[in-house]
Amino acid sequence: MNILVIAEHDNNELKSSTLNTITAAHKLSADIDVLVAGSELAEVSKQAAAIENIKSVISVDDPIYKNFLAEDFGNLVASMGDQYSYILAPATTFGKNFLPRVAAKLDVQQISDIISIESEDTFKRPIYAGSCIATVKSSDPIKVISVRTTAFDAANVTDAEVSIESKDSQNSMGNATFVKDELAESDRPELTAAEIIVSGGRALGSSENFQIIESLADKLGAAVGASRAAVDAGYVPNDYQVGQTGKIVAPSLYIAVGISGAIQHLAGMKDSKVIVAINKDEDAPIFQVADYGLVGDLFEAIPELTDSI
C-alpha cells in the first residue's frame, strides 16, 4: 500500500499544504513517495526530502511543469499512477486543478476534500457547504484523494533527508500556454496558515473603509479575509474570499466583522478555534457560531479594538 503525495510549491518553497497532506497520507501507510514537479527544483526537493515520515522524493525538473499547467502536470501524475494504491494532493486551487484529470485518466472516481480517514477505503467529506458530513467507501483500485488541509496537522520537518530520485518528464501536450500570474504581495501571513484572521464583509462599504480591517489585522499580526459580498463588490481581491467556494481556514482566532454568517461563509471558517463576531444586527446568524459576540457598529468597535490591543 504505497502512496504518492503531490507536493505543492512555487519552485522556490514548499507550501505548507504539502505537510498537511503528508499527515493524511501517513494515516493510510508509511510507504510515502513525494512527487516534486516543476522547474529548477534543487531547493524545493531538498525541503521535501526533510519531511518526517516519508520514504523518498521523486523530482521531475522540466520547464514544462514550471507553471503547473493541468494538462502536462496531470499526464505526469497519471503516468505514475499504476505504481501506487493512493494518490493524494491538497484540496487547494493547485490540487483541484489537475487531480480530477489524473483520476479520469486512471478511470477512478476522485474523493474530494476529505476531512478524515476511517479505514483504508473509507473517508469522511463535507457536502452541501458543510451542512452534512458524508462517509464514503471507495471500490476503486487506486484511490485519488484531495485533502482538506485544515483537517490535518502539518507533518514535521527534520534534519535528516531521504533520497531524491530524478524522473524523466512526459511529452508536453502543448495546447495551453502560461501568460502571467498576478499574485498578491503582502507582508501579512498567508490566509490558510495564519494563527489569527480578521475578515470583513459587505458592511465595510468600500475598499477605503476596508483599511480599518487591515489596521486591526496588522496590529494583531493577522491575515485578512473577506466574505464573497466584499470580494464581489471589489473592496478586496478574490484571494481573500473565505467560504464554501473560496478558502477554507481554521485559525486559533477568527474575527468576523460586518459579515452576516451565510452558510457558504460558515463553510470556510466554522472550524476555527475561537470565533468573534461583530455585527450591528443581534439576529445575524454569525452569532450562532461565535464564541464571543458583540452587537454594535463596526466603525466604532473596530478602531476601539485596534487601539486597545
Binding site: 486551487t93 484529470r101 495551453a176 501568460v179 499574485l183 457558504q264 468573534v276 452569532f287
Partner: protein, 250 residues
C-alpha cells in the same frame, strides 16, 4: 462557434439541507431545486459571447432525471438555443457524468465547453477537469475573465495566490468562478419562448458508458455543532475575554 454548457439541477443555495432520519442520504423531499449557481454563470457567459457575435449556437445539457427538464428550460429562458437531457434514474458520480458528456461532445463537436467550477450539492469540483482529461482537451478552471481570439481562449483564473492568465487552444474546457459575470434574470417573454425551444432526450443506457458508481455512501450526518458562545457588552470586555478566558491574545 458552438458552445456546449453542461448544467446541473441542485438543491437551491438558500435551502438548509438535513440528513434523512436513517442517515442514508440528505433529505431532498419537498426542497426547492435550482440550476447550480456556477452553471448559471456558465450559461450567462455563453449568452454574452453570442451577443458579441463570437458564438453562434449554445446547447445546454444535463445528465439527470426527467425533472431536470425544468432546469434546462430555465437555461433556455436565459438564452441557450437548445437543450439535451441525458436521462438516467440513478445519481451518477462526476466520472460517469464526464463520460456521458464525452458522448455528447462527440455528437455535437462544440468549440468551447463551459461548466461550473463546482456543483454546490456534492462540492466535488471535478467534472470539467475530468471531461477535459477524457477528451485530451486543454482546460482553464475557475475563470473570472474569458476572451476568445485566434482560435484560443484567453482566461484569467482565480487561484489561491491571486490571479493567473493562461491561453488554451480550442476546443477547450472552461469552468466558471463567481466573478466571471452576474447572470441575468429571465424575462417573462423569454420564459414563454423557452417552452418552444428544442429539448432532446437521450437515454444513458443507449450510450454504452460505464456508469457504475465507485463510491458507496455509508452515512450522511450533521456536523458537530459549535457550543453557543456568549455576548459581550463592550470592546473592553471582548479584549478581556480574548486575553484571559480564550487566551488567544497576549
Amino acid at each position: 462557434m458552438k458552445i456546449l454548457v453542461p448544467v446541473k439541477r441542485v438543491v437551491d443555495y438558500n435551502v438548509k439541507v438535513r440528513p434523512l432520519p436513517d442517515q442514508s442520504d440528505v433529505d431532498l423531499n419537498n426542497v426547492k431545486m435550482s440550476v447550480n449557481p456556477f452553471c448559471e454563470i456558465a450559461v450567462e457567459e455563453a449568452v454574452r459571447l453570442k451577443e458579441k457575435g463570437v458564438a453562434t449556437e449554445i446547447i445546454v445539457v444535463t445528465v439527470g432525471q426527467s425533472d431536470s427538464q425544468e432546469q434546462l428550460r430555465a437555461c433556455l429562458a436565459l438564452g441557450a438555443d437548445r437543450a439535451i437531457l441525458v436521462e438516467t434514474q440513478s445519481l451518477l458520480e462526476p466520472l460517469a457524468i464526464a463520460k456521458c458528456l464525452v458522448n455528447v461532445v462527440h455528437n455535437e463537436n462544440p468549440d468551447l465547453i463551459i461548466l461550473g467550477k463546482q456543483a454546490i450539492d456534492g462540492d466535488n469540483n471535478q467534472t470539467g477537469q475530468m471531461l477535459a482529461s477524457l477528451l485530451d482537451y486543454p482546460q482553464a478552471t475557475f475563470a473570472s475573465e474569458l476572451e476568445i481570439a485566434d482560435n484560443q481562449a484567453i482566461v484569467t483564473r482565480e487561484i489561491d495566490g491571486g490571479l493567473q492568465t493562461i491561453k488554451v487552444n480550442l476546443p477547450a474546457v472552461v469552468t466558471t468562478d463567481l466573478r466571471l459575470n452576474e447572470p441575468r434574470y429571465a424575462s417573462l417573454p423569454n420564459i414563454m419562448q423557452a417552452k418552444k425551444k428544442t429539448l432532446d432526450i437521450m437515454n444513458v443506457e443507449d450510450m454504452s458508458v460505464d456508469i457504475n458508481n465507485r463510491l458507496q455512501t455509508l452515512s450522511v450526518v450533521l456536523p458537530e455543532e459549535r457550543q453557543a458562545g456568549v455576548m459581550v457588552e463592550s470592546v473592553t470586555e471582548l479584549v478581556d475575554k480574548l486575553k484571559n478566558e480564550a487566551k488567544v491574545l497576549s
